[in-house]
């Protein structure tokens, strides 16, 4: 009875946290204030996996927060409850398993080692200041696909439907923007989802590096599963129904168990129970990777690392810290929240270490001068503290061979007009312009005062010329 209640409580908890995830997603953005509560990115702030990785990569303790400690304690004591009760990706995969009635395979001793191999690989990479493992954080995978694919597509669908039902238009974004990287985000997500068709929660069982970390942390938890051996008939149903292959009968794997209470309720003899205890039973099994395998993985990663690193100067969000690629957890919170859509994910072509990190895509949009929203969205402090006055992302340069007054002797002051710096980083000088007809005219033309330029890119964005006659370039050291 108790276990039946707990089994359903788990489903309610999953629905709650999935709903919370979606709610926080929708509230990520500008709703009248440039400061938002850190709770908005609580899933990432408490993310044991990604936060540890950037902590190692950036060699800093400042990324760790109270939320992190809470989840750490929870995992140490109660086991892998995050995967079973909280993780929104896990909830989604559970739901899909239920929806598609994924066949429960007959019990076979599975090997969990791949997720540990993946985890070790990513942690060693983090030692080399390459936190690429955060790309495969399940919460980030979900957040990315919702940000880059589902939300913009949903917005388009609403806009299209508003032709028939005009009131729907009020629910669309006032300034919708599309994202680069929608395809890769979609492919990664779909892969994770479709793997589920082969086996229930296949991703969670065998691949998820966050899950692997939680397995290690929670392998000594005190919420122990026990079998009443007098009642047990050795039928093996518990092993077959377990969504985590934690084999309650054949030597319980404390680190794999989601604490879902399915085996308790499926057991025909009610022989399974849970008790609070620090003592492990004799036949309990530990982490499923051998020392030799772990060492091999570390060695292989060490050899692979130099191949991954590729330095390249790119435009970063305002307030980006020096070691931005090490600090960034690739969660896309800043990109979701950015009201102009100027923050865009970098593609795989820009190097694995840059994949999924935000850059300032001045060819698409610009950074709003007064806006400081992204710093309070960033869960890892990769976007540090800044004010409108201290923004310095890049510097504008005028291409005189394209610029209307310089090249054609035509009037245009659009860049200067839009320059948001109160005393104008773009100055107008009077030049003797030459029209294509050879006529000389005294006109105003723009020059950039680099010491005032924030690199916000509104000049590039509003320049009427194509290609743009003023562009933002990364700052030189």
């Amino acid at each position: 009875m108790k276990y039946r209640f707990l089994r359903w409580a788990r489903v309610v908890s999953q629905i709650f946290f999935f709903g919370l995830f979606l709610y926080l997603f929708l509230r990520t953005g500008f709703f009248g204030s440039d400061r938002v509560t850190p709770l908005i990115s609580i899933f990432f702030r408490s993310d044991l996996y990604s936060i540890s990785i950037v902590g190692i990569a950036a060699r800093t303790l400042t990324v760790f927060s109270l939320f992190f400690l809470v989840l750490l304690l929870l995992s140490l004591t109660l086991g892998r409850v995050f995967c079973g009760w909280i993780c929104p990706m896990g909830a989604l995969l559970s739901f899909f398993s239920w929806l598609f009635k994924t066949k429960k395979r007959r019990y076979k001793e599975p090997s969990f080692k791949y997720k540990y191999v993946i985890l070790i690989f990513f942690f060693v990479a983090a030692l080399f200041s390459l936190p690429i493992g955060t790309v495969f954080d399940p919460i980030a995978i979900l957040f990315r696909v919702v940000t880059f694919v589902i939300h913009p597509e949903g917005n388009l669908a609403l806009l299209y439907s508003s032709k028939a039902i005009p009131s729907l238009e009020n629910y669309t974004m006032t300034e919708p923007h599309l994202f680069y990287g929608a395809v890769t985000a979609g492919i990664i997500f779909l892969t994770v989802l479709l793997l589920n068709l082969i086996e229930e929660r296949l991703w969670c069982r065998y691949l998820c590096p966050y899950g692997a970390l939680l397995s290690i942390i929670s392998s000594k938890n005190i919420l122990k599963l026990r079998i009443d051996e007098e009642k047990c008939t050795s039928c093996g149903i518990c092993d077959a129904v377990c969504p985590a292959s934690a084999t309650p009968f054949n030597g319980w794997k404390a680190g794999e168990c989601y604490q879902c209470f399915r085996c308790h309720t499926e057991c025909p003899e009610d022989a399974i129970y849970t008790e609070l205890s620090i003592k492990a039973k004799k036949n309990e099994k530990g982490i499923d990777i051998k020392r030799r395998e772990a060492l091999l993985t570390i060695g292989a990663t060490l050899i692979a690392m130099p191949l991954l690193k590729k330095e390249k100067k790119v435009l970063r969000p305002p307030g980006a810290v020096e070691d931005f690629t090490s600090r960034c957890i690739r969660c896309s919170e800043c990109m979701k929240g950015c009201p102009t859509g100027v923050l865009q994910p970098m593609s795989l072509a820009s190097g694995l270490e840059n994949y999924g990190t935000p850059r300032l895509a001045t060819e698409l949009s610009y950074c709003e001068y007064e806006c400081t929203l992204c710093q309070s969205l960033c869960p890892s402090g990769a976007i540090g503290k800044f004010t409108p006055e201290t923004k310095r992302m890049g510097v504008a340069r005028v291409d005189r061979s394209v610029c209307l007054p310089f090249a054609y002797g035509e009037e245009c002051i659009v860049c200067e007009e839009h320059c948001p710096v109160p005393s104008k980083a773009i100055k107008l000088i009077e030049i003797e312009g030459l029209t294509p007809e050879g006529e000389k005219r005294k006109i105003l033309a723009p020059v950039v005062r680099e010491e005032l330029c924030t690199g916000c890119g509104i000049c590039e964005n509003k320049c009427p010329q194509s290609p743009k006659a003023i562009k933002i370039y990364p700052l030189e050291d």
Binding site: F30, G32, L159, E169, T172, T174, E175, P339, T340, E368, Y369, E370, C371, L404, E410, E411, C412, I413, V414, E416, E417, H418, P420, V421, P422, S423, K424, L428, L444, K462, C463, P464
Partner: protein
């Protein structure tokens, strides 16, 4: 002066505005000076005649300048209290519905909020609209420079447009006032208009023909326009100008900014194309 004469003069002085209000023929514009922008606007409208705002059942567009993500003190956007008074007065004059919008240069959500216009207009009962790209339709403007252009369909559906600009410095057109404010109801690549800005904004004024212009010079932006940012560039003038004549409105504003006659090409062009004369009989209150 005898007491009797004094009383006569006093009576004449007091009754003059009332007489003017009844006739409404003696002047084409009202210049208001005062302390409170909200009260000033109401006084001005009452003097100029409430019926000039709307007829019964009209759909009215009140078009303030909400172009920039700045606060009212920075004088980059129209004063919210003036917008509020105009919306209220339009309803009182019989308008069925008043809408307020602008196609801003910054993010609309931010400009609407920080200019405080959205809140003020909503309080007065106006519908504040966020423009979207799917509202644009290509319209034949039949101008000298703008033959056709993308226009927000809401601006074409209304019965009247009340143009509520703020007086600001502009590095190319020298000043941005009533005619240039109309750039906020068109879409597309607006930067293109800067090639012949004076002709382009007269084209817009000729096509849209605002039925009333209320020029906000409570605060004006003297330099680093049109978006400003420095409070030292803002001058407190505490003035307001109400007229139906857009050329006179721009002339008045340009004069306030200290431009000389040769620096206002768009006023000259507007005058030449018959949009109105620059000097009009103005009642000062």
């Amino acid at each position: 002066m005898k007491r009797r004469d004094f009383v006569k003069v006093l009576a004449a002085a007091v009754s003059l505005p009332f007489l003017a209000q009844v006739k409404n023929k003696g002047f084409e514009a009202v210049e208001v000076k005062g302390e409170d922008p909200y009260k000033m606007t109401w006084n001005g409208i009452r003097t100029f005649g409430l019926k000039n705002l709307a007829s019964k059942g009209d759909l009215v567009l009140v078009k303030p300048n909400i172009g920039w993500d700045r606060t009212p003190e920075q004088a980059a956007d129209t004063n919210p209290f003036i917008v509020k008074a105009i919306v209220e007065a339009s309803y009182q004059a019989g308008a069925k519905k008043v809408i307020v919008f602008d196609n801003p240069c910054n993010v609309a959500k931010r400009t609407y909020l920080h200019s405080e216009i959205a809140m003020a207009a909503k309080k007065a009962g106006a519908e504040v609209i966020f423009l979207r790209d799917n509202h644009l339709i290509t319209e034949k403007l039949k101008g000298e420079f703008l033959k056709e252009w993308k226009v927000y369909r809401q601006a074409l559906e209304v019965d009247r447009i009340i143009d509520v600009p703020i007086v600001k410095h502009h590095s190319l057109a020298r000043a941005t006032i009533a005619m240039k404010n109309l750039m906020g109801i068109i879409g597309g690549r607006r930067g293109y208009l800067h090639r012949r800005i004076d002709t382009a904004i007269v084209d817009l004024a000729q096509f849209f023909r605002p039925s009333l212009v209320v020029v906000d010079a409570y605060r004006i932006l003297k330099a680093h326009g049109p978006q400003g940012g420095n409070l030292s560039d803002v001058a407190l003038k505490k003035k307001l100008f109400i007229t139906k004549n857009i050329v006179a409105a721009d002339y008045w504003g340009a004069k306030l900014l200290g431009l000389n006659e040769s620096q206002m090409a768009w006023v000259t062009e507007g005058e030449k194309r018959g949009l109105g004369r620059r000097r009009v009989k103005t009642l000062k209150i």
